[in-house]
Symmetry: C2
Subunit: 501 residues, 2 copies
């Protein structure tokens, strides 16, 4: 069995080498690649994705997994080897349904669609990306059709990122969430809005960067094993446990964008950096699901980065960096400003209360596109209509409307957005468990120390990579199933205090 | 035949996709990759290089080439299709001698060796890289052994970059060159040295960059189809005809380093950008040899970038950017300073007269290492001894001695350096032909216009990619064989005037 396990691992190293190489090319496309490179990049990524897929779905791997299965069953469930066989088997079975030719076709299309989007968004030009998006919808449907027997056509797409989660479950969950959030937004926005005019002053990007790099390193992000760059849409990627990179975008007159994106992406990045070295170059060496990933990013962004203890320590440092911009602004005013709840246009900049509504809008539109009850042509109007119905405002253009998020333009339609909402819920449950284990966390934060929280997350979540499914991990760490209440309770408590409702 | 040609081309696209992906990973390693990424990068590049090699040496390609050969022979020699079959055949036969396993082993080693060098050079730590270099020497010898029947063990290594060139030819050529250059260096350095103390003032890198980006775009480098980054050793790479990148390194107190590196690398980059689009994603879509490549880089660096007409136009602009540093320096003083001939330590910064001697030193050491008459352990001392004998100075440390050039640490020992010396000779011959065709070139340069020169080079050299061998290209463009005289005549004329000897 040792030999077979070694052979499996050697094949997985090859798979990961190809997958990581594809990710380097994609990172480069989003950060540094000149516009002229887009055409070739499409075919280059397609070749790598096709070969990665062929490597993972080689029938020899199927045979090895069959041979190893009985032996792995005798090992402890959470041992590295048992987990490797179990998780690889699941991934193998999922991927083996897709023809490699389709994987290459999808990857080539996605690279080209991304390039079109990167040009179209600043120009507010939905017509430019419409044919790409129509093809993405066709390809997303085609992907689902390789998994016949689904309950909803979105399910196979969701399953890729959040194993086992179904559209029907999410619909119920989101209805519940919406019912809780909508009246809260009503109540809060009926109150006078916190003053945040000072956040529209000029904040040079180099200083924004100096600040957030200090912060994310204090969180635990290791710049010797990672880096930060700039891209049109913030993201995190990794090429090994020791090379994890995130991006931000800078807005001179809105420092919240880069700062909170950096905290958010650093949450993703620390998860990937914290995976046990023993899992390197295996199918286990990545975060287990979109939902758990977002629980980590949103935990660091919001539970830490938008908290009073955090700013008690860091606000004087921010003021020292920006004396002209913030010298006249008290901590409490700043705290209220970065937690201002408003009906706004941009998801990534949305406050914690309205954020879920942005997700629900996208999820609804995705399902309608996939079901065929909405066409891509009608999508911009449906977006505006959805914004009016969900958030009570209408974007003045497509740039800050249907074009704002990269996901549909660089990925599939379906499967991406649910992770953010699940992440909010999971994050609340994980953070509650962290506080229960270590009630000293907020006091430490007030001193600029995050070691206890980071250590606990590493121990409880990061190190395991993909060993456990979302449900298994949640049960292990919190002893509970997925719940809406901890998140809603947190939101009500925090914003009840800020807005005195 | 159409079908077979199409199949060959499709296979070559796959090959190029993998090769280009490997180059993206290598570019990333040299520019942005965090130190932690080195271990994984080695295995990732190795996988890509192995697969690229397997794709190119697939026996099916051999069969296709055999089938296409008689048909290709009926086509005009310089047609795209005849050239594709001819050049691919040559490359196939060369590559098919190497086991893919060796290619992967070499690539993995080179990536790790590069990482060690990048750390060791700033620390002046030859001991750190010595084991890597010893292994590189073993691998370089192993590579040559796959081509039994060579005249000199360096020949197969040289042949990879300069097809058909032999160590014995180079030895003769270099002896001739040395005999011409050594007395010139003697005579010049007996004269009073031009004053260049102002070049050691502080020149902020952002301004250096602004200047050279203006210049290289005026030369003809297209930033929509390329970019410039920073790396420990300047280089140029390309991922398609429309994505060609170069790097420089900045030294605040030595602006010559970045400026002339940028002109040099832009010469390489314009060659790659100027290849005919019809050759994209084939074996023809690259410069034909190291020698011709260096002829282009050194032509733009020296014949243009160190010329009086060039600085007549650009020096006032440079002064305007650096008024405190250069406001008190006359054009003629600056011109003499950037053409100062001196016995110096660093090859990339060497003047045109001593440059060849730096190459000859490296070439001699390579041959001795490969022959076994010099060990890696004794290499630093042999370097010092060679510098004393060749240039009359001794480096105070290994950083500016044996560690200065990346080539041995990221590539093979053997095959890299001859291209620079060949490039000087070829460049002189090409430039003489350009001046004969367009005597107006220097006058245009004085106006900051380079279109005639760039257009002529594109027409005569760039567009053809690898269609012609070095010898064929030289014959087509100049009607001559490789000659030392045009280069020596140029050097004597230019430096005779500057130094009045």
């Amino acid at each position: 069995m040792e030999d077979k396990l070694d052979e499996l691992k050697a094949r997985l190293v090859e798979y990961k080498n190809l997958e990581s190489a594809a990710w380097v090319l994609s990172w480069d496309q989003q950060t540094y690649m000149p516009a002229g490179g887009a055409e070739a990049r499409g075919r280059q990524v397609a070749t790598l994705e096709r070969l990665a897929h062929e490597t993972l779905t080689d029938p020899a791997i199927g045979t090895l997994l069959d041979d190893l299965h009985p032996w792995a069953e005798t090992l402890p469930y959470d041992s590295d080897d048992a987990s490797l066989v179990r998780v690889t088997r699941r991934e193998y079975e999922r991927q083996a349904r897709l023809p490699s030719e389709f994987v290459a076709r999808l990857a080539a299309h996605q690279a080209r669609s991304y390039a079109a989007w990167a040009e179209a968004r600043p120009q507010n030009d939905f017509a430019r990306v419409r044919p790409f998006l129509e093809r993405t919808l066709d390809l997303s449907r085609e992907l689902s059709e390789y998994y016949p027997g689904y309950e909803h056509i979105a399910d196979p797409l969701i399953d890729r990122n959040d194993f086992g989660v179904k559209a029907s479950t999410l619909r119920q969950l989101f209805a519940q969430l919406r019912n809780q959030l909508a009246p809260l937004v009503e109540a809060i926005t009926a109150q006078p809005a916190p003053d945040d005019h000072f956040l529209r002053r000029s904040f040079p990007s180099e200083k924004q960067q100096a600040f957030f790099l200090d912060v994310v390193q204090a969180f635990g992000f290791d710049l010797n094993r990672g880096r930060q760059d700039v891209s049109p849409h913030p993201f995190t990627t990794n090429f090994s446990i020791d090379d994890v990179r995130f991006t931000v975008r800078f807005q001179e007159h809105d420092p919240k964008d880069a700062l909170f994106s950096a905290f958010h992406e650093a949450g993703h990045a620390m998860y990937e950096q914290g995976i046990a070295q023993a899992l390197e170059a295996t199918t286990l060496a990545m975060g287990t699901s979109a939902g758990v990933h977002e629980s980590q990013s949103r935990l660091w962004e919001n539970r830490v980065g938008r908290s009073r203890p955090f700013w008690t320590h860091y606000y004087p440092k921010l003021q020292a960096l920006f004396p002209a911009q913030l010298g006249d602004v008290a901590l409490e005013s700043f705290y209220r400003a970065v937690n201002k709840v408003e009906r706004s246009l941009i998801r990534t900049d949305a406050d914690e209360v309205t954020y879920g509504l942005h997700i629900i809008l996208r999820f609804d539109l995705e399902l309608r596109l996939l079901e065929g009850s909405l066409t891509v042509r009608d999508l911009p109007e449906a977006w505006r209509e959805g914004m009016r119905a969900t958030l009570g405002i209408v974007p003045p253009d497509d740039r800050d409307g249907v074009l704002q998020d990269v996901h549909w333009y660089a990925g599939c339609i379906g499967g991406h957005f649910q992770g953010y909402a699940l992440g909010n819920l999971l994050g609340a449950q994980f953070y509650a468990a962290a506080l229960q284990a270590h009630p000293e966390i907020p006091a430490e934060m007030e001193q600029g120390h995050f070691g206890t929280l980071h250590g606990w997350l590493k121990e409880q979540i990061y190190q395991h990579g993909s060993k456990y499914t979302t449900a298994e991990l949640l049960e292990r760490v919190t002893g509970s199933q997925l719940l809406v209440e901890p998140y809603i309770d947190y939101i009500k408590a925090k914003y009840g205090e800020i807005y005195q409702i």
